[in-house]
């Protein structure tokens, strides 16, 4: 339906791999440990209905770069607040209440509000871009609707000949269901 360029972007071909469904958190953590030991750490995607520290610790990924977006956005907002108030005051200087044309103290309030506004918006932007980049990186991978309800899931990207041993490994860790995708 879509031109090929768009299809490549929005519907990348299915990534081959193995999808396991876990009913228990500790079984999923156990499987992550075994997969990492088996050299599949890079090919893993873990699904969970809620964020859990156990999963985070098992995966041991670096802290999200979203915080840099917050910092840069906040500083930018503060700068824009300062520029807006000071530039506009000196652009058409009107003395109000005998106070200096550029009065820093009341402008701090506006700088503060702009810090929060820009900080919050860039945080969201950072979240969206980082999550999008991550999903681009993963490609189209298998999913199960139970993962937003009460099941944990692990998808391992692999070639068809690796799938057999991986299925064994996942079942051995306590997966309720394992399928090839």
């Amino acid at each position: 339906m879509l031109p090929k360029v768009l299809t490549d972007i929005f519907h990348p071909p299915q990534t081959p791999g193995v999808l396991a469904v876990f009913g228990h958190l500790d079984a999923a953590v156990d499987a992550i440990g075994r997969l990492k030991a088996g050299g599949h750490g890079e090919a893993l995607t873990v699904y969970s209905p809620i964020p859990r520290h156990e999963l985070e610790n098992a995966l041991d990924h670096p802290t999200s770069p979203v915080r840099m977006w917050t910092l840069i956005g906040g500083i930018t907002g503060c700068g824009i607040g300062a520029w807006l108030t000071l530039y506009m005051s000196y652009d058409w200087p009107v003395v109000v209440g005998g106070k200096p044309v550029g009065s820093i103290l009341p402008y701090v309030i506006i700088m503060f509000e702009m810090t929060v506004l820009f900080g919050a918006l860039t945080t969201i932007l950072g979240l969206i871009l980082n999550a999008l980049l991550a999903s681009r990186h993963q490609g189209t991978i298998a999913y199960d609707p139970r993962f937003t309800n009460d099941k944990f899931g692990i998808f391992v990207r692999c070639t068809p000949d690796q799938a057999g041993p991986l299925e064994g490994l996942l079942k051995g860790s306590g997966a309720e269901e394992v399928r090839r995708a």
């Binding site: 953590v29 873990v46 209905p49 985070e56 979203v66 009065s103 506006i110 991550a134």
Partner: protein, 453 residues
Amino acid sequence: MADTTATTSTSATRLTYDFVTRAIARTLGNPGKGYYLLLAAAVSLLSVGIVCLLFILRYGLGLAGYAHPVYWAVYITCFVFWVGIAHSGTLISAILYLFRSGWRTAVYRTAEAMTVFAVMTAGLFPLIHIGRQWYFYWLIPYPNERGLWPNFKSPLIWDEFAIGTYFTVSTVFLIMGLIPDIAAVRDVATGWRRKLYAMTGLGWRGTNEQWRHYTRAYLYLAALATPLVLSVHSVVSWDFAMAIVPGWHATLFAPYFVAGAIYSGVALVITLLVPIRRLFHLEDIITVRHFENLAKLCLFTGLIVSFSYVTENFVAWFGGNADERAGFWFRAFGSFWWASWTMNICNGLLPWLLWFKKIRTNITGLFVISIFVNIGMWFERFVIIVVSLAGEPYEHWANGGYNPTWADWGIMAGSFGWFFMWFLLFVKNFPAVSISEVKEVLPPPKLAKGRVA
């Protein structure tokens, strides 16, 4: 014996992840007659407000009963009231999040939605107040085009920034919290709702990468929203405190307003949660413990408010300024004594009932108290704004007699209709309780205890 064991274990394990998803997804189904009655009441109130507003548009602000020097009256009172209502939402969603209070998970979505709709309602009032709504954009500060020359030393401009930022950030916070929950209901929904949630869920699947960025972003948003919420009502209070009207010009105003805002907001959360819990059968998720904790917050902030009343009156007397003393005497015994005493009784005395555990755990009792608290808080703003202006001593001979008119009351009623309409539509169409966060405070399903560190 076997039966008893079975029952006990059912009630203990009742709150599973699956139970939470289904119980909350059920709120999106047919809510029954009670819901539609409430919605119809809200829409009728709103139409009363719209009719009054149309009259004001046609015949001008003369209908609003202004009399010198009372030119800030019911509309500004409603503005401050609704901005205040908004504050408990961010308190519960951001500040209690940073404090890691587990109980907030069941109530924060309602509070947050309330925040967004309350700011939406508040935002209407400056527009109604200016009289010529089609010039509203004159309020927005932008580089000196068309000779606007915004005065950044004016608290009204600070307000513009504070309210604008607050509305944006609280909306973003609400939407962000909704995404994993919309995905959860998407995966159990059918028909057109599934399509709606598939679009609004933005492709959420709960992958480790999504959670990694999401949890960080949520933390930083909460960290930004925390000082924001304290700043917004401080800035609103400076709209008054920066002026020299007796009864306004006090350094106490910022903390006094913030405490009052949270007090009224928490009370409205209670008022809203009681019918929602009943209508949508959420008794297992929103329990008496949640109401008791809300009542404690109410008690705490209510005591700060009472203390502020005492301080305010004491300083007026102790400060020895004749105008200030006269202003406070007028407040208590002047022509608006009824407003002041409604405020004192509802806000100063009523919260003391919450010291009793019996009252804190009685949901009907809390519902009634919460309504009176909000009546009291509306009158607090009325007393601060209208009564202080009406008692202004500077040109006593020129003071007219102000009284709110039918147009004022109609527009005020309309604002309640507007707020409740949005709120009711929200709880029916989106998860009114956070699915993922309620699950977070439950013990996760595990094969063996202690196997995971």
